[in-house]
């Protein structure tokens, strides 16, 4: 009964559904986004940037409120799922029209885009410290401990694509800076091999050929007289069309990797979703569409798809056993290394020493890029063993 059909709802009910513009209910249960976000809201200035959904929801509600309608727990409404659906419009004259709501959303998005490009500039980690100056003790301690290993960061826009964008930017930036033709050749070959694999799981070639060509073109410019440089990479990753095309390819590779190894991924996916959902449906709904947030499943798949080891550093409130105010460990920053299966197997005993190529900082609902401090000979052994 929560559908917003005109003419068969009381004003209050119809109004609630205006607020309920959010994800379907299972979208909320397992993306790392919306509902887990409040956790980190204290003292986190980037909340407004990365949490487009909440911003949006709030502002839509306030439009409704402004015209005098009651808004009762709009997001809670979505839980009672009744069959049938409809355009989300009620009949009240005083309600904002869909046009008004969408115009408002667009202006919020535009304002956000101005505040935060798809990828930002390199900032010292002290910027992060500054951000949490009023924040919790745990966060500040963790940042201090982060500074032992990382010197700087680069923020990305919180539009749901932040993991893929952080990954690709960091990966390519390192290739460009090191002019690492060996790794470039490896990854170009790897991406080319994906063509057949994408087709095998059902992607039509026409849906990925352009995006694949864009990515390979950029990689192939390395080692030429006009190689991609960091400034150009920044421009490309900020471009309204190129940047999403690159992400689109990564999403398809991730989806194909999950579907190719569905026996492996199925239990994880079942664990994440309340409803029964097939691996294919999961990919259609939560991997391939732009803006769907990334979870462990996505990262495991991508690291394997491209054979690129990734380190995710978690900046959250989780504290070790030492939280009770004891010892230094309470400030330890957890990280997780995503190591491609082939690398961890072939490196056998040395598996633990597979060096991540890409470092990202995870704060609940959002990923940014981290830059490790140069490793000196003296402490390289320490780092390798962590």
């Amino acid at each position: 009964m929560r559908s917003a059909y005109a003419g068969n709802e009381s004003p209050a009910r119809a109004e609630s559904s205006v607020g309920a513009i959010s994800h379907q209910q299972n979208a909320e249960t397992f993306t790392d986004g919306a509902e887990s976000r409040p956790l980190q809201s204290v003292g986190d200035h980037s909340v407004g940037v990365s949490f487009a959904d909440n911003t949006l929801r709030t502002s839509v509600n306030s439009v409704s409120a402004a015209v005098g309608d009651s808004v009762d727990e709009p997001t809670a409404e979505i839980v009672s799922s009744t069959p049938i659906l409809g355009p989300n419009q009620g009949e009240e004259v005083s309600r904002p029209t869909d046009d008004q709501i969408i115009a408002q959303e667009n202006s919020i998005r535009a304002a956000e885009a101005e505040k935060m490009p798809f990828v930002g500039t390199v900032e010292p980690l002290s910027a992060l410290e500054e951000e949490y100056r009023q924040g919790s003790f745990v966060f500040r301690e963790k940042i201090r401990s982060l500074e032992m290993q990382y010197g700087s960061m680069r923020r990305t826009r919180g539009d749901g694509n932040c993991f893929f964008r952080s990954f690709m930017f960091a990966f390519m930036e390192k290739l460009v800076q090191d002019n690492d033709l060996t790794e470039r050749n490896r990854v170009v070959t790897c991406i080319r091999q994906w063509k057949a694999k994408l087709i095998a799981v059902g992607f039509q070639e026409l849906v990925f050929e352009d995006a694949m060509e864009i990515v390979i073109d950029q990689l192939n410019s390395l080692g030429t007289t006009e190689p991609l440089n960091v400034a150009q990479l920044e421009a490309n990753m900020r471009d309204a069309m190129l940047s999403p095309m690159i992400i689109m390819l990564l999403r398809m590779l991730t989806s194909a990797e999950i579907q190719r190894r569905s026996d492996f991924f199925a239990p994880f996916i079942m664990g994440m979703c309340d409803d029964e959902i097939s691996v294919e449906q999961f990919c259609r709904r939560y991997v391939e569409p732009m803006g769907e947030e990334s979870d462990h499943v996505h990262i495991v798949a991508l690291t394997n798809a491209l054979q690129v080891p990734i380190r995710v550093v978690y900046l959250d409130r989780s504290v070790g056993a030492a939280m009770a105010g004891v010892g230094y460990d309470s400030a330890a920053v957890n990280h997780h290394d995503f190591v491609p299966d082939a690398l961890s197997e072939s490196a056998s005993a040395a598996a633990a020493a597979v060096k991540p190529r890409v470092h990202v900082l995870y704060r609940p609902g959002h990923y940014d890029i981290l830059y490790p401090l140069p490793v000196t000979a003296a402490d390289s052994t320490q780092i390798a063993s962590c």
Binding site: V207, A240, L242
Partner: protein, 165 residues
């Protein structure tokens, strides 16, 4: 690398999809391309699917025309898709041709992805017709059509909850 303007990417992609539609064996079953002039705006004809055994014959022999407008940001943005009235009578299709189907829209609850094609959209629409059991309009059809007169369905905020039809 050559930079590509948004419309170049969109045009290439639309042309690739068009090539498929022009080949009999690659076109979705029960669908024809009536017009693709200009290239960004097509008309597709969808034949009413045969009823499954034991199901009521709702659309047998009927033909419906679908307007498809691609944007400069295709395939990142979904195409605008609606039936040119008279639209099929269906609980998710309004008389003005607007269609409540998640893959036609992006954003928070939309299901569009660049991995989809117009061919896949047409197949979904046809299967939406095939699985229907009752000739009726969505509740509030008249009011909705009056309110959205002359506007794009992409300007409507949709909710998608019914997986059955």
């Amino acid at each position: 690398m050559g930079t590509r303007s948004p419309s170049q990417i969109a045009m290439r992609r639309i042309q690739s999809e068009l090539a498929d539609w022009l080949l009999d064996d690659r076109r979705p079953e029960g669908c024809q391309l009536e017009s693709f002039e200009p290239l960004m705006s097509w008309v597709v004809v969808i034949e009413g699917p045969d009823a499954a055994p034991g199901m009521p014959k709702l659309y047998n022999g009927e033909r419906f025309r679908l307007r498809v407008n691609f944007s400069d940001r295709y395939p990142l943005d979904p195409p605008e898709v609606y039936f040119i009235p008279p639209s099929p009578v269906h609980p998710h299709i309004y008389s003005n041709g607007h269609i409540c189907l998640d893959i036609l829209y992006d954003g928070d609850n939309g299901g569009w992805s660049p991995a989809l094609t117009l061919g896949k959209v047409a197949i979904s629409l046809r299967s939406m017709l095939a699985s229907n059991t009752e000739l009726k309009r969505p509740p509030g059809d008249q009011e909705y059509c009056a309110r959205t007169c002359g506007r794009s369905p992409k300007q409507t905020r949709w909710e998608f909850e019914d997986d059955t039809v």
